[in-house]
Symmetry: C2
Subunit: 243 residues, 2 copies
Amino acid sequence: MIKKEAAILVHGASYKRGEIAKKLGHPTKTVISPSGISSVYTDSKALEIFLMVYAGLVNKQIVAKLQKFGVNAVGLSGLDGRIWEGKRKGKILIQEEGKTKLLTGNLTGKVEKINVGFIKLLLDNGFCPVICPPAISYKNEIINVDNDRAIAVMAKELGVKKLVLLFEAPGFLRDPDDESTLISHIKKEKVDEYLKFAAGRMKKKILGIREAIEAGVEEIYLGDGRIKNPISLALQGKGTVIS
Amino acid sequence: MIKKEAAILVHGASYKRGEIAKKLGHPTKTVISPSGISSVYTDSKALEIFLMVYAGLVNKQIVAKLQKFGVNAVGLSGLDGRIWEGKRKGKILIQEEGKTKLLTGNLTGKVEKINVGFIKLLLDNGFCPVICPPAISYKNEIINVDNDRAIAVMAKELGVKKLVLLFEAPGFLRDPDDESTLISHIKKEKVDEYLKFAAGRMKKKILGIREAIEAGVEEIYLGDGRIKNPISLALQGKGTVIS
């Protein structure tokens, strides 16, 4: 017997997005902030592709798979019912060819507010929300947002105690190019000390994890999303456990 | 003051789907049944494009627009929460080059069941469901389905009394190529007599309307979706009223 616990699934689709964006002749463009954090530049065409791949293709494929397992999944973007709401960033500073430049027209933002009532309504009625970006801005713009930040805000507002994060690595690696350098346990008070090992997108994840811990999350399991039974194995401590 | 009534929005995206399908090198293929009804052939690649354009791009663009108008819209495909459930058709007969052929691998079906509880939960809590195909089969396959049939089943199960149908014409035309031949009123008992004027996809719509009337719908407004304020104008009788 599998014990049923209320669960929320949050997903990305960046690899698939890159693939489709290329096919549609509008390849994904990455920009680097002055502090070295990379993110995707989202103009209106990129946002259309984003909606197609995240909220359309990947979200619904996950929903169909969960339905097969008997989970009554409901796929939603952050727009739906204003689940994820926040501020549009507007202009951002980027680092390009050794110079700091101002970039406009970027349709991105940061989740600050959650529709707690709607999520609870779904959970209380036995549904499993499957959520992905984009979110909605206070001015009703569609904005691309980071999952990691959104998860931290959800954790806080919903009182989530346990997080499982899956990605394309066995867990958090001391050297991102060497899978044998897996860190199996991190004390949650010491997450900051590990920031120095985090490169690229992992940096954002660790910042999100720090926010989640500040929000009251007690256990975080980082696991390999490429293997079979990734969630059970992560919960068994096969990846990195932060507690 | 606008009086707020509970409303469900159902949409298609066939034009946009055709456009994206072509760009992705997998143009939409239409097949004709022996009785002359045209439909789209949906293989697994076409289904992926379908998910992207219907459940991703167009669904979320409508949701964002409604949010702008203060309507708390929630975009869903028929898969989500098993809102639209039905039977997969499997093999179908098609008419090609004057011959009747058997077509396999078609991921289509017919909506037979509605998740009434979920739709009511959303309506009772002030949300406006924005629903589009695909649906889910009893065996958890993703199936492309006709909106018109799904609407008729929803009308029956939810006790809907009023339907507004918008398309790319001023209403139901006696001659599809002549917009001056608009039929402004049809008695709901006489819909069958008008089937002979319906060509192509309109035939399906009329069959869906017949089902909706049998299901208890009292007023159906057919209106022009290309103009400003299409719903208000349709309700004012500018298109075809069936009652």
